[in-house]
Symmetry: C2
Subunit: 622 residues, 2 copies
């Protein structure tokens, strides 16, 4: 590689902007798809940023002092990849033959399979919340002077999650966060809500606590000055650079035109536009170097964790065990927690009390909470984020995108199912197992007792990908001795005998009701095997298969969840994937809309109490 | 019932406030759970509203001119139910013996099983967005002068969805929407982000386009004046009443105390508080009457709908058929559509062009979009809301709550699965079937061709509950003749013969790849049955069972979705629920994280193309 230029002046930055435009056109035209016009509006902004402000060692993306650059408007990937070419980490050939092609790392929207990408974007309104998480880590955990620059689209300012991000950025005084809003006034199907009304954006972002800079997004000197000021870490407010830009800027045929979103220029138009832009360029540039320094907190997973110990028979809520185990796990300096303003219910408050410097109150903003987890994960921390299980539905898009981001985050959802009782259906998680199981590469855990809950919390801290633990509101007897092992993908055969006639499968509260049912059946001379399917995904296929074989294929699955996609589906999918299945399975789940009531009333109404399970077993044996 | 008092003066309103407090304490103490302190902060606000401003015929909750009252802070249900007692529609006995009890309509959080409740609340940040939908209907569809009053908590102002709501309320000039924010400064676990900083709330809500009134929320005269002005419909801006209040107001032991969220007062404390509040009262009051008038648009489902007709073999994208069918369905005046700024992709733009007065652009705000659907549904309209299928993950909490609201809304998700190609995983719906199936009472449809897509769109318009249609990006051959019937819960056996050896099950794109596979297998002398499972939920158990029986239990299920909770689970759950199952099922799904690529490349990589399905069938027969 030739030696890149450094100390780039504004004239060269302007040239670089043209190069980024040309390359955005070239790559998308070559691919036959992509968003060149959305890239061209932001090209000058990024040219100035990358050449003069972004402190980044392109040869060492893991360098601790590197600034971060997040494309919240992920569809501007042609621009991002053109930057990679301009700094010499992606070749022109790769740009032209890789973009959007099968097997290439230059995907249609950026993902972290590229070493310079922190988080996957492309679902709008997520890059900025993710950036808040990175900035939280920078200010409070790493204590390093890097900045987090986030390129935002104007369309995505309509997403509420952006305002959760601004709110938390100002609450946490994140002067290290700079949102650059590319106000090109055009969305996918036409004008945005606010058009070029920069004053409206100013009023809103200022009201949410930001320092605001308004610039002509094609005036490199103005951009430069705004970035110099916005990048200053001495204040206590996040910055917003509102840039008035023109979509398709520089290609007169598409400039500021409504029908050119997400469309590559046809080859002839592309050629003409490139000519108009001054032709191809191959500037190779580098911006300023990052600060030296190491993070204050370092991962030290060798530290001893003393999990809480529970006595068998003692009644303990698994949510309590979560809090106690998490507080213990906090001995590891990489463990961080956040909660959605319910930490006295999820028991994340036990971590907050023990490790206040590593706990982030996210208030009632579940999207931002999950994004903050992803963001601190970018910096190598292990986040545990908690709220009521059902309120993770609020953040499902963020969880899905976290998987695409290859993030490793731990989620804890309390108050699962009708077990919660009187609060009623709005507070009952009855879809969460289906939702979390469908996330790529996820692990879904649902312990029945405090011992297993605590063990699984410790296990989660080293799992790759999205892991989820579902906890229960009420206290139930501890079933397992401390020190017992609960591998992911395992299960516990809690009752078994040679003459088992039926298998009862539960997890969480329904493991207890399965045990109740087994007691009832035993009194009638029916021997029932009972399986604690604490690992809902992956499920323990071998144990399930063996139980099915041993009990004539007679299974009763009971779950405190709607019937679709939960434990019943997990059992069936696992057995079906293992080979021929020959089963009579009764699937007990919450099939009617519940209301308020006591836990026993609601479990009985759903048929997932001991009586309901025993009756189902009897029917299978009739 | 004694005759209620009317023309309530402010002194009586203040008395009413005390009564509402007392009754909030009484009901929650009797139930042993609930949120009395969160009710007491807002009691004066609601006393003034209900007695002097809310134009509502309590004897006829369906009266078209009635104002709407939505408790976005649904946990203040004791206050709401105390209001119902005060206006004489719920007895004191029901309040004291029903609240939060099993089988009672007075659930822990309000749901529309009560005739005066529009929408279920309890997941914070939803009542105001729902109210935006009702107000849209009032201004643009009904053209009636009712107002929508929404009681909001201050904690929920941290939810981004609230800002989506303010944004859309000002964009659509909803002067008929009044948010009353009960700023009691305390959330569940402690102080809110902004505490009593009413100026911060003012700056934010004003920046989002609202008229703002600041009041002492315990000064009935000030409240009265603000409500009189806010309720004026002559302007073009939504109103926000910011009320500084005290949590637990009037009961000195709990007033403004941090540890009294969501806790009933123990009986002795309750007694003391009631004494302090002046004892029990049994005021019976009515406020002003609603305006007369009928909605401009009336449901007329008898109107003839001329669905688009497609020729067999013609290549048409099902998303296009969605748009064309929806535009045709617009002949029904009750049909309304909204889209998340991608109507040129979902083809909702065809409806927008044909029926501009009944189309609402919601920009990139999926939560608000679904809430708007719920809100117009409250007024009797039939909403169709569309975006990319994967972006419904953004609104999952709203969809879940819509089911609890007993809403009937139609959702259309385009760009399902890896079929979309080059845009990459952020744009691919791979979790939506699992997510939508798990919603209580939902219908999940996934047509393979334009004829069935159009027919199903028409069917959706009369379904109860949440219905979802998944559409495909690319154009594929029309398979069915116009006029063929596609009942919910049905399927189509597209290929069958006496000697079928294996059954191939697909929907959407994979029905086409199943047909390709069947062609390949036929050339090898293998007869394969092919089932179009266009109704994923409910699934056609009879046809699936018959096919399994006819083909030796050999099934190949192919789906463009992650393996958990989708079509594979739907098939297994249906068969398992039907009785003994004896199957060898190969389940083909998207098991690895996809990247960019062409449709054929990505289908092949997931093993759900014709080759992959044929190979799976051969393995089953080997």
């Amino acid at each position: 590689m030739p030696t890149p230029s450094t100390d780039i002046d504004l004239a060269t930055a302007a040239e670089l902007g043209q190069q980024l435009r040309v390359d955005s056109i070239r790559s998308s035209t070559s691919a036959g798809s992509g968003h060149p016009t959305s890239s061209m509006s932001a090209a000058d902004l990024m040219a100035v940023l990358v050449s003069r402000h972004l402190r980044y060692d392109w040869d060492d993306p893991d360098r601790p002092g590197n600034d971060h650059l997040i494309f919240s408007k992920g569809h501007a990937s042609p621009l991002l990849y053109a930057i990679y070419k301009a700094v010499g980490v992606v070749s022109d050939e790769e740009l032209m033959t890789g973009y959007r092609r099968y097997g290439s790392r230059l995907e249609g929207h950026p993902t972290p399979i590229l070493p310079w990408v922190d988080v996957a974007t492309g679902s709008l309104g997520q890059g900025l919340p993710d950036g808040v998480g990175v900035a939280l880590a920078g200010k409070y955990l790493d204590e390093l002077p890097y900045r987090v620059w986030v390129l935002c689209g104007d369309s995505e300012m309509a997403e509420g999650s952006m305002w959760e991000a601004f709110d938390k950025a100002s609450h946490y005084k994140l002067a290290n966060l700079i949102a650059i809003v590319d106000v090109n006034r055009l969305g996918q199907r036409g004008p945005t809500d606010l058009g070029w009304d920069l004053e409206a954006y100013r009023r809103r972002t200022e009201a949410f606590g930001a320092r605001v800079f308004e610039v002509d997004g094609h005036d490199v000197a103005a951009i430069d000055q705004a970035m110099a000021e916005a990048g200053d870490l001495s204040g206590e407010r996040p910055s917003v650079i509102l840039a008035r830009t023109i979509k398709g800027r520089g290609a007169s045929e598409v400039e500021d035109r409504e029908d050119w979103h997400g469309k590559p220029l046809p080859p002839e138009m592309a050629e003409q536009a490139i000519t108009e832009l001054g032709g191809e360029r191959h500037l190779l540039v580098r911006g300023p170097a990052p600060a030296d320094g190491q993070p204050r907190l370092r991962a030290d997973r060798a530290v001893e964790v003393k999990l809480p110990v529970y006595d068998r028979g003692q009644k303990v809520a698994t949510r309590k065990a979560y809090g106690e185990a998490l507080a213990a796990l906090g001995a590891r300096p990489d463990v961080v927690a956040m909660d959605g303003e319910v930490s006295n219910s999820t028991y994340a408050n036990m971590f907050a009390q023990a490790h206040p410097g590593r706990f982030f109150e996210m208030y009632i903003a579940e999207q931002q909470m999950v994004a903050a987890a992803v963001g601190v994960g970018v910096r190598g921390y292990r986040p545990f984020a908690s709220t009521f299980a059902t309120f993770f539905t609020r953040a499902y898009d963020f969880i899905r995108m976290a998987a695409i981001s290859r993030a490793s985050i731990c989620l804890s959802g309390s108050h699962a199912g009708v077990e919660i009782g009187a609060d009623g259906p709005s507070q009952m998680a009855l879809e969460d197992l289906a939702m979390m199981r469908a996330v790529h590469g996820s692990t879904v855990l649902y312990p029945s007792d405090a011992t297993s809950a605590a063990a699984l919390v410790e296990t989660m801290a080293d799992l790759d990908g999205i892991s989820y633990i579902r906890t229960t509101r009420g206290g139930y007897p501890v079933l397992y001795e401390a020190g017992e092992s609960f591998p992911v993908g395992g299960s516990k055969v809690v009752r078994s005998a040679e003459d088992d006639q039926v298998t009862l499968i539960g997890a969480g509260i329904t493991l207890h009701t399965c045990l109740d049912a087994a007691d009832q059946l035993r009194d009638e001379g029916i021997s029932a095997r009972v399986i604690d399917l604490y690992s809902v995904k992956p499920a323990d296929t071998a144990t399930l298969s063996a139980a099915a074989a041993a009990t004539g294929g007679r299974l009763v699955v009971a779950e405190d969840h709607h019937p679709e996609g939960g434990i019943g589906a997990a059992v069936l999918e696992a057995l079906a994937d293992a080979g021929r299945i020959d089963l009579s399975m009764t699937h007990l789940a919450v099939r009617e809309m519940p209301g308020s009531g006591s836990t026993p009333e609601l479990l009985a109404a759903a048929g997932i109490d001991g009586d309901g399970i025993a009756a189902a077993a009897r029917r299978l044996l009739a």
